[in-house]
């Protein structure tokens, strides 16, 4: 087969130079929709954001150059400070919960069980991902209502007095985390499930022979083997948690006080409610730098604890 096909191929093929000329043009045409779209709706806006961050502009009057004033006022604005602090606390708690729940459920599914049950559980845990964060937040808002919510009713069954879930600062922050994790743990779960299923059985059997069971086996065999996935899952979980908006917006609208106001909510409010587009751009840039820094840091740290085969 190889001998018959290689001989004529060289004679029939169009000359390489002509072929690559046609290909180059075709490639340009093929890339045009994506690249032009990105230039217009991503790269140009990034540059726009960079420029805008140094201006004061309310759309109506002419933009006014203010240098670093927007950044300086960010550092002093208590709402901005609180919202970034809230976002960081939210990210830490939500990501730890999300990864912890996802990893434990994924490893529990590795045990022997009927396959219909495994399929059912897998679908169940992944189901909330297909719902919209806005509608999830709407029904959760009623479940966590202080007077007629089903959560407080369930708690009353075990004698716990009604909790003001959405009207006290600490409890509302907790609700935002819970609702977010409820909806998103399925994503990390799917990643872990894939990674765990790919571990060759022999490795665990070998570890068993060496006397490693339970936690020891998990920390010395399983975890190193899935560490690349743990890294990817945590990077993705952190990046998406840093951008949380829908849940706090619908559940609490940032309140009570500023207790659930996140960085993205402040971008939204300062741009589209207070018409301070320069300030909003500046906050957006700080958030981007934060995201880039976290990602870079994680990949650096990963060299120390991630094992690639």
């Amino acid at each position: 087969m190889t001998t018959t096909s290689t001989a004529p191929r060289h004679t029939v093929k169009p000359p390489a130079a002509r072929r690559s000329f046609v290909e180059r043009w075709l490639a340009m045409i093929f890339l045009a929709p994506t690249l032009l779209g990105m230039a217009l709706f991503t790269f140009l806006p990034i540059i726009g954001s960079l420029v805008l961050a140094f201006f004061r502009w309310d759309i109506i009057s002419a933009p006014q150059f203010v240098g670093f004033a927007n950044f300086a006022s960010l550092a002093q604005d208590p709402t901005v400070r609180v919202s970034f602090l809230n976002t960081i606390v939210f990210v830490v708690v939500a990501v730890i919960l999300q990864l912890g729940i996802a990893l434990s459920l994924a490893s529990m599914l590795q045990a022997r069980m009927p396959s219909w049950l495994r399929v059912f559980l897998r679908s169940t845990f992944f189901f909330p991902l297909v719902l919209s964060a806005a509608s999830v937040s709407i029904f959760m808002r009623y479940m966590f209502n202080e007077q007629f919510g089903v959560v407080n009713w369930l708690l009353s069954l075990v004698g716990i007095p009604a909790v003001p879930w959405l009207t006290s600062p600490a409890a509302s922050a907790a609700v935002v985390v819970l609702v977010y994790v409820w909806q998103n743990f399925g994503f990390s779960f799917l990643l872990f499930l894939g990674a765990l299923t790919n571990i060759p059985k022999e490795l665990h059997e070998a570890a068993n022979l060496d006397g490693a069971t339970g936690w020891k086996q998990f920390s010395n065999v399983t975890l190193p083997l899935i560490s690349p996935t743990v890294l990817v899952a945590s990077v993705m979980a952190i990046i998406s948690a840093l951008q949380v908006f829908d849940q706090p917006y619908v559940l609490t609208n940032g309140g009570p006080g500023d207790s659930t106001r996140t960085a993205v909510m402040v971008i939204f409010e300062s741009a589209f409610q207070q018409l301070e587009f320069g300030e909003a751009s500046a906050i957006g840039l700080v958030l981007t730098v934060l995201i880039l820094a976290v990602t870079a840091l994680q990949f650096r740290l990963s060299r120390r604890f991630v094992f690639y085969q």
Binding site: M28, G48, M140, F148, A271
Partner: protein
């Protein structure tokens, strides 16, 4: 189960790992997995109940009469399902228009992404041109830019183009997709080269090879891009909140939130009926495209 069989092997080289006499050890090991199994099933059952419970509560409450919707204890199984809440939703918000808007926006974005990502993915995977790797890295880098950072300039751009408060304002910026391009590139890289060579032998040019050989083969990959786009944009809230102003251009998630505003005098069941209605398309996609959706979601993570 296999652990205690294997475990006898450890005694050979390490004597006893836990220091228990040979008589007590197998006994304990036979019982431990059993206890673990009970714990595991309990944990899984609790997790499944916590995941499905809220959705079932929403469904059951939406099927109660508005006046009963506040009742506690909540009955999880409505004995006499009542659809007045659903009728009320149709009275309060223009469900037809919201669904039409959402379907139009989501459908066109999905089609646009499938087309543009297939073209770009093919170029990156199978065509030769200068600066290919650099351009591809640039495309991938856009995945790192949060939508909130570009939203203010995008909003102004849309205004400048005279598209503010139109459905096109939601559709156009969402069509170029780094993730879709990446997925399609991976997909085309996974297809064998032999077909292209055979077609070239028959005198097909690069366009014919793409159109007649690779596009038909790429349909499953395009389906992943389409389903992911559908799921994401059907549920999208942030961009529609900013880019649409008048209610006639709202998509479903926005309409639901306004429904919630009407609640003052109404009932929970009306709002929850709206929530259930908005979930139906997502549910259909979930049931029929579960595998595709799962593969698409995890494909990006394991590059």
């Amino acid at each position: 189960m296999s652990s205690q069989i294997l475990h006898t092997g450890t005694k050979e080289h390490t004597g006893s790992t836990t220091g228990t006499p040979a008589t007590g050890k197998p006994y304990r090991h036979r019982r431990l997995p059993a206890a673990g199994t009970v714990g595991r099933y309990t944990a899984l059952a609790v997790a499944a109940a916590l995941t499905l419970g809220p959705v079932l509560w929403t469904l059951s409450t939406s099927l109660r009469t508005p006046s009963e919707s506040f009742n506690l204890p909540p009955s999880f199984l409505p004995i006499n399902p009542d659809f007045t809440a659903y009728q009320e939703v149709f009275k309060q918000i223009n469900v037809g228009l919201l669904v039409l808007n959402s379907a139009l926006v989501t459908g066109l974005i999905a089609l646009g992404q499938m087309a543009s990502a297939t073209l770009a993915g093919y170029a990156f995977a199978r065509l030769d041109f200068r600066g290919k790797n650099a351009i591809f890295s640039l495309v991938l880098a856009t995945m790192m830019v949060p939508v909130q950072v570009t939203i203010v300039p995008v909003f102004m751009l849309i205004r400048g183009m005279g598209l503010s408060d139109t459905l096109l304002a939601l559709i156009l910026p969402a069509i170029p997709t780094a993730f879709g391009t990446f997925l399609m590139r991976q997909y085309f890289l996974g297809l064998p080269n032999d077909f292209a060579e055979a077609a070239a032998l028959d005198g097909a040019g690069p366009w014919r090879i793409f159109r007649s050989v690779y596009v038909p083969l790429a349909v499953p990959g395009m389906a992943i891009v389409g389903i992911l786009a559908f799921n994401f944009h059907w549920n999208e809230f942030f961009r529609p909140l900013i880019l649409t102003i008048s209610e006639q251009n709202f998509t479903l998630p926005l309409g639901l939130v306004t429904l919630q505003g009407n609640l003052g005098t109404g009932s929970i069941s009306v709002v929850l009926a709206g929530v259930i209605l908005s979930m139906l398309p997502a549910l259909v996609v979930f049931i029929f495209g579960q595998r595709t959706l799962r593969e698409g979601l995890t494909a990006g993570a394991s590059k």
